[in-house]
Amino acid sequence: MQSEEQRLCGLDAKVVFGETMARIAKDDSLLTVVVSDYGRRLNLDAMREELPSAFVQCGIAEQSQVEVASALANEGFHVLAPSYATFITSRVLDQVRVMLGMMRSPVVLVGLSAGCEAGALGASHMALEDLACMRTIPGMTVVCPADNVELASVLEELAAAPRPAYVRVSQYGTDACLHAQGMQRAFGKAEVLREATDGQVAILATGPLAGEAVQAADLLAREGMAASVTEFAVVKPLDTEALDALSGKRLVVTVEDHGVQGGFGSAVAEYLSGVEGAPRVLRLGMPDEYLDADTPRHLLERAGLTADGIARQVGEALA
């Protein structure tokens, strides 16, 4: 029989968002979801039935969305504000600076179709700079769940204890269900997906490409190269203890479906640049350019972010 975790992993992340909101609404009358004409796809009917006042519609107006969400949060409501990842981050960056940064309004921004998930819609809809934007805001918690089990868990955690946060949701249809046994780690802690105690290579991944990283480690093992894989769902604040544990490695490889500058890999490199004798860092991510529309799979392949591409680039770095 299919487990609950496997069922979740088989769903669209947006459906999981709505299911999770409906579950929270049963116990939390303060729950509020502020949308900007991106509510219909979020499976919110059950939540609205449970708690009609939880739904706030702003129309296609993300600036207003962040302002309204912030005021509601500061008046005590538990507020999530979902939209396309690029519009709820870079488009409203000044609102996020003032409202979530300076005022510390405890709003959970949820960026949907992040990375190159919306690749078919072209560069305007891909979110490849959103992590860079959000992690430079002081006080922000920035999370990239790797699968829907983790997504549901993160949303429940943040709705129960709201804080200025950005949850980045991307999904590629071929992603592994990495948490089929349920969530084992504490919020904020990195999770070792593949041990390789004596190996020279540590692969660190955030978001759904953590599954590709595990497959890449399998490919490398066949070549005789042992590589560990660690998933960092929380990009900020970074689990630096997990990074300190990498001191003996020859190569640290970061993997993300985000631009190669400014995101998770940059955060890791920034930290390790202050650690004496730290391993070399190979940052794998999307190229520094605006990409033409294509399927997400093609975009990831071209960027070298599938299992094959990751394994190949690690091999080249060690050659």
Binding site: S53, V56, C58, G59, A61, Q63, S64, V66, E67, V68, A69, S70, A71, L72, N74, E75, G76, F77, D94, Q95, R97, V98, M99, M102, M103
Partner: protein, 300 residues
């Protein structure tokens, strides 16, 4: 007072409590707000403070905080208080003395100054609700959306709190103002009042030349607001329209003079932000004292 009947639905006079402070006192309080604005400029002679837009909204601030709002410092249960969102944060110099008059700040808070980490007040506000400061910063165009959210929160909690948002007419260039206005009109946020300090000037010159905002009254009406147009230096007219209630949001277009009260600064774009020298300070003090005497003379 010029009142424009742009609405098909008549605005109902609110069953508000009578203004706590009568007209003469409100006028004196507005002059005292200007005096304090000048004192801030005196204290920091090298800082090009936003004097013009602070002086233009002195009556608006004094009337709101001492005449119209249930501030929470007046015995209103704190959760049920009215909220004031200063969207044109550049005019904070006028906010601080008006908050002090309302009992939400002390002279000691003001004396701690406006710069550095250990202050209560600042050049731009920092959210601190126990002092009645609801919004941080001076990034223009964000206040109305925030005020909309506060009004929505009050509605959901079943509170009678009103939310006042003070904005500039230049600020209405910002598109985000109209995102928020759409929301307010569409959702009939009757507890929301947008007060436009329409002083007709912005950094680069007259608003009519920089980016003509056209008839703001017609724009807000089109977005679903009741609209009142007043002389923004007439405290009684302001008190009257700011106390109006209906089931629709209200926009008060308050026509004001930038730099009001300082003859050498009035309607002069250079005083958008400028340092005040010794001579300017002395003249300002004398002119404001003359204005104070005139109010008193008229009262007798």
């Amino acid at each position: 007072m010029q009142s424009v009947a742009t609405e098909t639905r008549p605005i109902q006079e609110a069953t508000r409590k009578s203004a706590r402070v009568a007209g003469v006192d409100l006028a004196l309080r507005a002059i005292e707000v200007r005096r304090q604005v000048i004192e801030f400029a005196r204290r920091y002679p090298d800082m090009p403070f936003h004097l013009g837009g602070s002086l233009s909204c002195a009556e608006i601030m004094a009337v709101l905080l001492s005449g119209v709002m249930r501030t929470g410092a007046d015995g209103t249960p704190w959760e049920q208080r009215d909220r004031l969102v200063l969207s044109k944060g550049h005019a904070s110099l006028a906010l601080w003395p008006a908050l002090m008059q309302a009992g939400l700040l002390t002279q000691e808070d003001l004396d701690r100054g406006m710069l550095g980490p250990d202050t209560v007040i600042g050049k731009q506000p920092k959210r601190n609700v126990v002092h009645g400061i609801e919004l941080s910063g001076g990034s223009l165009g964000m206040g109305l959306g925030y005020a909309v959210g506060l009004a929505l929160a009050a509605r959901r909690k079943g509170l009678a709190s009103r939310v006042f948002c003070v904005m500039g007419d230049g600020e209405c260039d910002e598109g985000s103002v109209w995102e928020a206005a759409s929301f307010a009109g569409h959702n009939s946020l009757g507890s929301l009042v947008a007060v436009i300090d329409a002083n007709g000037l912005q950094l680069d010159g007259p608003t009519a030349q920089v980016l003509d905002s056209g008839p703001l009254s017609a724009k807000f009406a089109a977005f679903g607001f009741d609209v009142q147009v007043v002389d923004g230096h007439d405290v009684q007219a302001l008190a009257e329209v700011l106390s109006l209630h209906s089931e629709r949001p209200l926009a008060v277009i308050a026509h004001t003079v930038k730099g009001k009260g300082l003859s050498f600064a009035e309607n002069d774009v250079k005083w958008h932000d400028r340092c005040l020298d010794d001579d300017g300070y002395r003249r300002a003090v004398a002119e404001l004292e003359a204005a104070r005497r005139e109010v008193l003379a008229h009262a007798e």
